[in-house]
Structure formats: structure tokens, C-alpha cells
């Protein structure tokens, strides 16, 4: 860690080990409280189900996947993960606000246009959403929380995500470096 680096980059964010330690404690606390881990994509699934349900109720009822999350008495938004996600938005906003990081912008490598960045973001999001449904969870829900309880599925998902990402990273290098 050179001094140069320290001055330009590191002061922006927490030391990763410190962040990791706190995140670990938070996962521990979450397990102690609720018996399960954190999650993020579940709220997006709930949102999609809600949107589809409000637009065409009959279609949502007929679809085998939506109907799993539909309940006549309860809105799919009344879900632990949705509240947690609301909290994530609030928490990130507080943290960003404290260190003056809030601004409307598109972050991208200087070598690409923001249009290209947005197109890749959409495509990446689409793939991630698809993958998260197939694997029943994303990096936080399946991989991180799964690893904390030594779930085999969690470890496989983690290895699959990072392994593939390293394999294909070469083809996307222009976007980032």
C-alpha cells in the first residue's frame, strides 16, 4: 500500500477488512434474530410479482411461478426482504450523504460512453435477475448467507458466480479498465 494510493483512493471508503468484519457481525446478528441471512433480490422479485399482479391479476394467478408468491390475504410486498431492502436504501443514503457521494451520475470507465455503460448495465441486470431466480438467491442471499451456515448450495453458487465472472472478465475488460 503506497502512500500515493492512500491519498488518492483509500480514504474514500472504509478499510475492506473493517467493512467485512462489521458485515460479518451483522450477518451473525441477523441469524441470531431471524434464523436466516440477508437478502436483496427477493424484494425485486416481490416487486415484479406485485406489478404483474396489479396489471393482470388473472395472468399472475395462472402462472405457476407468480402464484407461488401470491396470497389472497397478503400483498407480496409484505415481506421481510422488502422491508430489509427499504432499509438498505435508507442506510446507503445515510452513508453516501455523510461522505458526500450523492449525485446523479452514470459511473463508467473513461474509455466508454455512458450509453454503452447503461446498455451493459441493463443486460447485466437482466442476466443477474435471471440467474438469481434459477439459483434461488443472489450473492448476499445464497452465497454470503449460505456460506455463513456452510450450506453446500451457498458454496456452489459462490464458486459459480466468481468462477464464471473471472472466466468471462477478459471479454468485458474494455468496460472497466
Amino acid at each position: 500500500m503506497t502512500k500515493d494510493k492512500k491519498q488518492k483512493n483509500s480514504h474514500l471508503y472504509w478499510n475492506p477488512y473493517f467493512g467485512g468484519f462489521l458485515l460479518g457481525i451483522l450477518i451473525l446478528f441477523t441469524f441470531y434474530m431471524t434464523g436466516r441471512g440477508l437478502g436483496a433480490s427477493g424484494a425485486m422479485k416481490s416487486s415484479v410479482v406485485t406489478i404483474v399482479d396489479t396489471v393482470t391479476h388473472s395472468h399472475a394467478e395462472a402462472n405457476e411461478y407468480y402464484s407461488k408468491f401470491l396470497d389472497d390475504n397478503e400483498s407480496p410486498m409484505n415481506n421481510w426482504l422488502v422491508f430489509e431492502t427499504l432499509g438498505v436504501l435508507i442506510g446507503a443514503f445515510i452513508s453516501g450523504g455523510l461522505s458526500n457521494r450523492i449525485s446523479w451520475r452514470v459511473q463508467h470507465s473513461p474509455k466508454i460512453t455512458s450509453k454503452r455503460r447503461l446498455a451493459f448495465a441493463l443486460g447485466g441486470g437482466l442476466l443477474f435477475g435471471l440467474g438469481a431466480q434459477i439459483a434461488r438467491g443472489c450473492t448476499s442471499g445464497a452465497a454470503l448467507s449460505g456460506m455463513a451456515v456452510l450450506s453446500t448450495g451457498g458454496f456452489i453458487t459462490m464458486i459459480a458466480i466468481f468462477g464464471t465472472a473471472f472466466l468471462v472478465a477478459y471479454f468485458f475488460r474494455k468496460n472497466w479498465i
Binding site: G24, F31, T34, F83, F93, R101, L130, A135
Partner: protein
């Protein structure tokens, strides 16, 4: 004895409030660790920033060791934890698709939400992308169903699959993680620095 909410120590009505509080902490930690920046996240794949790797593995280790100690001391019952179910092919294929999405988009769902909160437009587009992905999956569910439900192994842990002692596993895992941390520092020093 934990977990508190399923065991009724804390009334169920509190669960949503606790969810918001946990979410706030989660969002704060992710944002403060720099996970709201896609270029920082992607750095792990190009060797210029290993924050993701470090945060991720440190968190998993701390949680794992902490859970085992709490289980040992009787504050928590490891057996009543929710164990992520193992659908072998679903996990592999889903993980692989997520991996491509990760490199292409530069976020994962949790971090994209953090980035949305601080006004990153690319993250907003990413979240819309995730929703479209979920939508596609649901519409073509019949197509994905064999993959989604195939090769179900139950809610198993590594102990069940490989029959290894979990304490030894954690010990070895810790050492591997520390070696990885050390290696990642060495790789980063060799690489060209990128500022973002």
C-alpha cells in the same frame, strides 16, 4: 436461545421493524465499504481492487466463526438456522449466469440498491434489468422448471455432503482466506493502478 423471532422471544410483529434496522445497517456497511461503485466492484476481476473479495470473505468468516461459537456456547441452535437449499444444477447454472451478469453490469442486487440510493443512474438501469430478468424467468417458468427444481439435494450443509468436521473445515477455510488476502495484495501491487 436464538434465533429470537422464530422462537418467540421477540414478538413476530417486530420482525418488520427489525428488518428495516438490519437493512439500514446492511446498506450503510455496503456503501461505506465502497460497494456502491461498480468500478470498485469490478476491480476484483481485473486485479486492481480486491475490496469485494476482502469484504466478502471476511464477512463470511466472521459470521461463520461467530455462529459456531454461539452454537457452542448455547446461545444459538445451528440446527434451526435456515440453510439455503441445494439444487445442484440450479446453483451452478444460475451462478454462472449471475457471474456473467456481474461482470457485464458491475453490480449485484444488494450493491446496486446501494448505488441507487446515492443516485447512480447505471445502478437504476441495472435494477430495472434485474426486474426484467425476473419477469422473463417467471414468464418462461415452464422452460426453466426442470432446472429450477432438478437435482434437489435438500437443505444440506457441507458436513452432510462431504462428511467433514465443520470445525476443521472452518479452520482450513480461514487459512485459505488469509492466503487469498495476501495473494490479492501481491497481485494488486503488480498491476497498474486505476483510479475511479
Amino acid at each position: 436461545m436464538g434465533p429470537l423471532i422464530p422462537n418467540g422471544v421477540i414478538p413476530y410483529e417486530w420482525s418488520n421493524i427489525i428488518a428495516i434496522l438490519i437493512g439500514i445497517a446492511f446498506g450503510f456497511i455496503l456503501e461505506a465499504s465502497g460497494f456502491s461503485s461498480s468500478r470498485k466492484l469490478a476491480g476484483v476481476f481485473y486485479g486492481y481492487d480486491f475490496a469485494v473479495l476482502k469484504v466478502f470473505f471476511t464477512a463470511a468468516l466472521v459470521a461463520l466463526i461467530g455462529l459456531l461459537y454461539m452454537d457452542y456456547l448455547g446461545y444459538l441452535d445451528m440446527g434451526s438456522m435456515y440453510v439455503h437449499p441445494t439444487y445442484l444444477w440450479g446453483a451452478i447454472v444460475g451462478g454462472a449466469i449471475m457471474g456473467v451478469g456481474f461482470v457485464a453490469g458491475g453490480f449485484c442486487p444488494g450493491t446496486s440498491l446501494c448505488a441507487v440510493a446515492i443516485g447512480k443512474i447505471d445502478a437504476l438501469v441495472y435494477v430495472v434489468g434485474i426486474m426484467i430478468g425476473v419477469f422473463i424467468f417467471s414468464e418462461l417458468y415452464v422452460l426453466f422448471q426442470p432446472l429450477y427444481e432438478g437435482a434437489f439435494e435438500g437443505n444440506i450443509t457441507l458436513m452432510d455432503s462431504f462428511g467433514i468436521n465443520r470445525y476443521w473445515f472452518v479452520f482450513i477455510f480461514t487459512i485459505i482466506a488469509i492466503v487469498i488476502f495476501k495473494l490479492s495484495d501481491m497481485i494488486r501491487k503488480r498491476n497498474k493502478k486505476i483510479f475511479y
